[in-house]
């Protein structure tokens, strides 16, 4: 069994290396600055920043703001006009090099701020639902930040093309969720534990790889990722043998185990934050890449590598589960632990291997997440509810169901942005999660059990 495990791990590492090696050389040229999915995630952060960061002028009563797309594109030369409620013009200005504008107003009160959409660059426009004129109230002596949500003009590309592009991003997200979800589902299946700290395993993988990639000698990301996976696997094995197996022996209830994983999640996230800092940070490698054009798709090599690697890893996992002795043992334990034990299966060893693989898969998911959106300590926790949604949609405890459910969740999340604002896309998987819980608690592929 162990030998097989080792072979599986080696294969996984090999696949990872090959795919990155194929894609790596195409890197290192100019970016076109349209990392759409990255921007969407950063909208919230931007707006927080707009309110908190830009209020240094205290004595004067001002209206101010920053016009930008994501963190990397500040838009200069956008005309902003402030009028009072009667319509008289108070001031007019254009944004500076860093996209900033500031207009002093004579008094506290309510003003109308207008952005001249014509002065935005051609590829940009105001987001759907964002008016060109915003009414805002400012207090005396304060600086009030005014937010204009700027996005890429959607009209420029036809619907089919946008759909295809979103579907690809959704597939990528879904596969990443699926990798983490397989671990969560297998751990639940074999040990009955719902691991709320699974998100922190995801973050942990990304952060460890980041550490090897940047601070510690600056290893190539592929090597750093492989090392990161080893550390993740060791952590998973350590958690099972050092914490959860002894706990299981104490016959703790569901609630106690769930609360312990929540405590672990808080502890782990804060430890990561202490070590990593709260600011989002990127890897060194594969950040700036030219897009490849395939028909309607414009994809970066790193996205192709993500999809290819995750697909291969999941296929290897499925084959292992279906055909190998370890896979059969795992499915037997998941089906009925006592029967499996009576049949001579070493349940503890199965649990240990499942934890090791589960933690590695989660870590790999984190590494791929970090490749596209910068790494921050909340990376995994944000993914956790999506993982739950994927696992629940597929059917709790079923590994294949978790994969299908996760990919569907990924699609739903990304494709929803064709109609709703990207910052609301996380609502979609959560809504799906609740709907599934209501309508079909056993999930798509689960077996109906007594409920309630």
């Amino acid at each position: 069994m162990w030998r097989l495990m080792r072979r599986g791990t080696a294969l996984l590492g090999f696949v990872l290396c090959v795919v990155f090696a194929c894609v790596g050389p195409a890197a290192a040229q100019s970016d076109d600055g349209t990392k759409a999915d990255k921007d969407a995630d950063q909208d919230r952060a931007d707006q927080d920043h707009n309110t908190a960061g830009d209020s240094d002028s205290t004595a004067q009563t001002t209206l101010e703001g920053t016009i930008r797309l994501g963190f990397d594109r500040y838009i200069a030369g956008v005309e902003i006009t402030v009028t009072d409620q009667a319509g008289a013009e108070i001031g007019r200005t254009a944004t500076g090099a860093e996209g900033r504008w500031s207009i002093a107003v004579p008094d506290a009160g309510t003003y109308l701020v207008t952005l001249d959409e014509e002065t935005l660059p051609d590829d940009l426009g105001l987001r759907e639902g964002q008016e060109t004129t915003v009414e805002t109230t400012v207090f005396a002596g304060m600086a009030r930040a005014v937010v204009f949500a700027v996005g890429e003009t959607p009209k420029a590309t036809p619907f089919g093309e946008r759909f295809a592009q979103r579907a690809f991003t959704g597939l990528k997200l879904g596969l990443i969720i699926a990798m983490s979800a397989v671990g969560l589902s297998l751990i639940y299946g074999t040990t009955g534990l719902v691991n709320f700290a699974h998100g922190e395993l995801v973050t942990f993988g990304a952060v460890i790889a980041w550490y090897f990639n940047t601070s510690w000698g600056g290893l190539n990301l592929v090597v750093a990722a492989a090392l990161g996976l080893v550390v993740c696997g060791a952590l998973g094995a350590g958690l099972e043998s050092g914490l959860f197996r002894p706990l299981q022996r104490r016959r703790l209830g569901v609630f106690q185990l769930v609360v312990i994983t929540i405590g672990l999640s808080l502890l782990g996230r804060q430890a990561i934050q202490l070590f990593f800092g709260a600011e989002p940070r990127p890897y060194i490698d594969y950040q700036v890449q030219d897009r490849w054009e395939f028909g309607p798709w414009a994809v970066t090599p790193r996205e192709v590598a993500t999809v290819a690697t995750t697909a291969v890893v999941l296929a290897v996992m499925a084959t292992t589960l279906q055909l190998s002795r370890f896979g059969k043992a795992t499915r037997a334990v998941a089906d009925n632990t006592d029967l499996a034990r009576v049949a001579g299966i070493d349940v503890n060893r199965v649990a240990l291997i499942v934890w090791t693989i589960g933690a590695m898969l989660a870590g790999l998911g984190g590494i791929f997440m970090g490749l596209d959106a910068d790494i921050d300590p909340y990376l995994g926790f944000q993914l956790l509810l999506l993982i739950f949604a994927g696992v629940e949609l597929g059917g709790l405890g079923t590994a294949y169901g978790a994969v299908v459910g996760s990919v569907l969740i990924g699609f739903a999340t990304e494709i929803s942005t064709l109609w709703i604002s990207p910052e609301l896309k996380l609502v979609v998987p959560l809504a799906v999660l609740i709907l599934v819980l209501l309508l079909r608690p056993q999930g798509l592929f689960g077996v109906r059990e007594r409920v309630g």
């Binding site: 703790l252 709260a278 609301l424 608690p441 309630g452």
Partner: protein, 336 residues
């Protein structure tokens, strides 16, 4: 020179300040859900969110009086309990937990989104004029006026908030004490112990759980209202899922399924958290801490003290699940 009187003063101020009031109310509500009924509610923060935003939006956006806004906030919490409970109360414990955490996150994401800016202020947060409340302040106010000694001191306004706050905590605690020792409360506990036994005695398990969910939810909504009044507004970032986890920590620390447990727990939670933060800040001032640790102290939410909360949660469950004043036999729920 370590100034332990300053550390102690800071910790005591946090232990009796408005944050502890809010946590105590949330924990009293959670105690009705989890402690007495055995409901694994992981979305307690959602009720607080609606309490806070119900009040803030009523006053700031619709221009209603604060005395209308507060009932609106509480009513919204009750509506959430009904909307959440009707479909999900039949789920098994862990699935109910996931459903509630998801529902609370949906609310936070929607209320905090740019699309909701005109109604709730979205990511910019919302602020309103709470002078209707502060006008009733009987304490003297002024830039130099402080009540207390050393760092354990409050301004007149703060003292007014916590006076009202602790009164509300006492009233809510008393109300819960009275209803759980009634026959109704005994049914609740019997559902927690064995819902099938309760059902076989002809009790409508679903209805009892629903009533418990609404009562606990409205008390959590009250916590949100106090939060809104304290800050004269609301910010979506203040309602992340860990608020629920902190509430569990406070409840387990004090003692679940007891009357005084949630209040004691909330006071101790904030005392210990602020003690650790304050202690570390002093160590950092003496330059006795490595750089990354002292850097982490500057953030708004103490990185280390929240980590300690996580550790405390694990230790409590493992070594003292009944908390300080609890009864161990009441903590042995296990309904898969």
């Amino acid at each position: 020179m370590m100034e332990f009187d300053v550390i102690f003063g800071n910790a005591a101020r946090a232990a009796f300040g408005p944050e502890a009031v809010i946590l105590a109310l949330a924990a009293i509500g959670l105690n009705v859900h989890f402690g007495y009924t055995g409901l694994l509610n992981f979305g307690q923060v959602g009720f607080m969110l609606l309490g806070a935003y119900g009040t803030s939006v009523s006053v700031a956006t619709f221009g209603w009086s604060l005395w209308v806004g507060i009932p609106v906030g509480l009513a919204l919490s009750a509506v959430l309990a009904l909307a959440l409970g009707i479909p999900t109360l039949r789920l098994q414990a862990v699935l109910f937990a996931i459903a509630t955490i998801a529902a609370a996150e949906i609310l936070r994401l929607i209320i905090g989104s740019t699309d909701a800016i005109e109604l709730t202020g979205g990511p910019l947060s919302i602020s309103f004029d709470a002078s209707a409340f502060y006008d009733l302040n009987p304490y003297a106010e002024g830039p130099q006026v402080r009540y207390g000694a050393g760092t354990f001191a409050f301004t007149g306004q703060q003292l007014w908030v916590i006076t009202v706050g602790w009164t509300l905590v006492a009233l809510a605690g008393l109300a819960v004490f009275l209803i759980v020792r009634s026959p109704w409360g005994r049914v609740l506990k019997s559902i927690r112990e064995d819902e099938n036994a309760a059902r076989s005695l002809g009790k409508n398990v679903f209805a009892y759980r629903m009533q418990a969910l609404v009562i606990g939810g409205v008390i959590a909504g009250l916590a949100g209202v106090v939060d809104a009044i304290k800050t004269s507004g609301a910010d979506p970032n203040g309602f992340r899922p860990q608020v629920t986890f902190f509430t569990y920590t406070a409840l387990l620390l004090g003692g679940s399924a007891t009357c005084t447990g949630p209040v004691l727990g909330a006071i101790l939670f904030w005392f210990l958290r602020e003690w650790i933060e304050s202690f570390l800040r002093q160590l950092a001032a003496e330059a006795w801490l490595p750089q990354p640790i002292s850097d982490s102290l500057s953030g708004s939410e103490g990185v280390i003290s929240v980590g300690v909360v996580g550790l405390a949660l694990i230790m409590l469950v493992l070594f003292r699940p009944q908390g300080i004043v609890g009864n161990r036999t009441e903590m042995l729920i296990d309904d898969g």
